[in-house]
Amino acid sequence: MSLSMLEDRTARRPSAGLGPYTRDYLARVRGGNMGALPAVLGLLTLVVAFSVARPEFVTAGNLANLLHQGAAVTVIAMGLVFVLLLGEIDLSAGFASGVCASVLAVLLTNYGFPWYFAVLGAVATGAAIGLVIGLLVAKLGIPSFVVTLAAFLAFQGAVLLLMKGGTIVAVDDPAIKKINFDGRFTPLQGWVLYGITIAAMLALHLWKRHSRVRHGLTADPISVIALRVVTVAVLLGAAVWTLNLERSKNDAISQRGVPMIVAILGLLLWLCTFVLNRTAFGRHVYAVGGNREASRRAGIHVDAIRIAAFVICSTMAAVGGIVAASRDASVNPNTGGSNVLLYAVGAAVIGGTSLFGGKGRVLNAVLGGAVVAVIENGMGLMEYSPGTKYIVTGVVLLLAAGIDALTRRRAARVGISLH
């Protein structure tokens, strides 16, 4: 009855060195289990291609633009992951963000509330929206596609009414504008934050390894941890360095430093990942998405999980709406409209989240969001006629996703391909 009765065929023992680990990793890659690799590959290809086509793509200014531009869709995509993990869909997430942004703007501008009340109001609206959708889906059993299609329509109307039939509401509050318009860390603050992030990452990895080894469980070798941390440190460092360059074209104004939105995105990413990977709730989200009946039999409150996922999704949509309002410094009836929803779902799916539920990670939604943002940004630099631009955008998206698919392809060949 001892642990050693479980013959560990993977030969991954505590403290095995980098060599066997690499072999093991390569075997897993060949086996189709590649984590974030394909999305990163797709992203890299895009970046290289655009840099070649338009050199200004790789300037500090454009990197900052890219971050501002992609933030709202990425935040919405993170929230959508929760709903998609359950095998549900939320078509209304885009316009929900619009409704919440309108609430923010109306509270701020028309009623003169302080910014924190307005933010609270917007986020509470998001949560309430999610609650209603969740109740309709879980308790009445109406398919989420239909409920959220109805919500998609109704919210368009709600935005119009809140905006009094199409006038815009400016959002001029300096605190709100910090979020995604002109909030920047000073170069020094940027480096301090960077240091804290890297140190925390290292500490977490080492601590986890320490306790696993102490309990006699398999753990990643030190060398692997080092490799991982160094990779992240280099990439993040390069980004911080670039963003600390002067990017203002106007001598009167200085524009240096990491935009505030980066910290917000990082925090949300960490929070969502923590909830999904390290809490019972997150575990149950995966379980319900994987096999709803089995989860019910295991005593999980399936309905509560489903409702909570919709609440999280709409709340994140609210945050996305605030981010969008901040970037535009205003709200209008189109906020959250046009392609926001499709891009957000697309970001999640490109990142490897399954529409059938049970599979997906928040990090991948962020990578997918980056792919979408890079395409939008890069295409903005190209001078095509609108028709051509649409076509090229579609083709580029397909290529980015195709790289992903081809990399993953062995998975389907080797494993069981039940969806």
Partner: protein, 254 residues
């Protein structure tokens, strides 16, 4: 049989649309005893178990626990009574790994955070106790397990907890020789610890090896509930296939 049953089902009926699957079934299980539930394919054994477990709502019938009527409207109600069931269709989440499945719905936490290390250790120990030597890692997703390995995980999941009633729906179907022996031994041990155990099986050797009482379902009706020592192997087979055997069975009284 003067002892009071721990769980008693009275007059249970259940239909799916026009198909009546269970008709007026009485069924009792006793603490400290192994009750074998036998019956032909499609007799309604699994349906009965699912009604007990709150998976299916019942059309009519009573549910008595320690003599008191209780109402069971879902798996949580059954779990609250201390009823633990290994379903025939296993009900594992294919996208989760072995540890995650074994602790599903009852995760060990430290504060808010899952205590994965403790769970991993416990899972490995329990599995090892069931003679599974071929699992590469308890971190393997269950979708990659062999039939027998899946079944072992499901059994391990059920016996990990201290309950009052354990119901096993054909737990040995996919198990090897050694594993089957282990499970039968486990069943006996659970009963000896004072739990009420229900074992569904088509294998008469297994049934006679551990059962104290035998209940035979025939086409959705309870043909007989008897002490295992009172009947022979061939009598039980007769009950299963025809619903009666001499003085026993439908239309006759014990």
């Amino acid at each position: 049989m003067t002892e009071r049953p721990l769980l008693e089902i009275r007059g249970l009926s259940k239909s799916f649309g026009p198909v009546q699957v269970l008709r007026d079934v009485d069924f009792s299980v006793y603490a400290g005893q192994v009750t074998a539930l036998v019956g032909d394919n499609g007799a309604g054994k699994s349906t009965l178990v699912k009604c007990v477990g709150g998976i299916y709502s019942i059309d009519s019938g009573e549910y008595l626990f320690e003599g008191r009527p209780v109402s069971v409207h879902g798996p949580r109600d059954a779990a609250a009574l201390g009823v633990e069931i290994v379903y025939q269709d296993l009900a594992l989440c294919d996208n989760l790994d072995i540890v995650q499945n074994m602790f599903l719905g009852r995760e060990i936490r430290r504060g808010l955070v899952l205590d994965d290390i403790t769970m991993e250790q416990k899972a490995a120990e329990t599995l090892a106790g069931l003679s599974v030597r071929t699992v590469a890692s308890v971190r393997q997703p269950v979708s990659s397990l062999s039939g027998g390995q899946r079944q072992t995980v499901a059994i391990a999941k059920a016996v990990l907890w201290n309950n009052r009633i354990v119901i096993l729906d054909e737990p040995n179907a996919a198990l090897g020789v050694a594993q089957t022996a282990q499970v039968l031994e486990l069943v006996r041990r659970l009963a000896d610890r004072g739990l009420a155990v229900v074992l569904i099986s088509h294998n008469m050797n297994d049934v006679f090896a551990v059962a104290d009482r035998i209940a035979a379902l025939y086409l959705g009706q309870m043909a007989a509930e008897v002490r295992a020592t009172d009947v022979t192997h061939s009598q039980v087979v007769e009950l299963i296939t025809t619903g009666r055997s001499g003085p026993l069975g439908l239309g006759a009284t014990l």
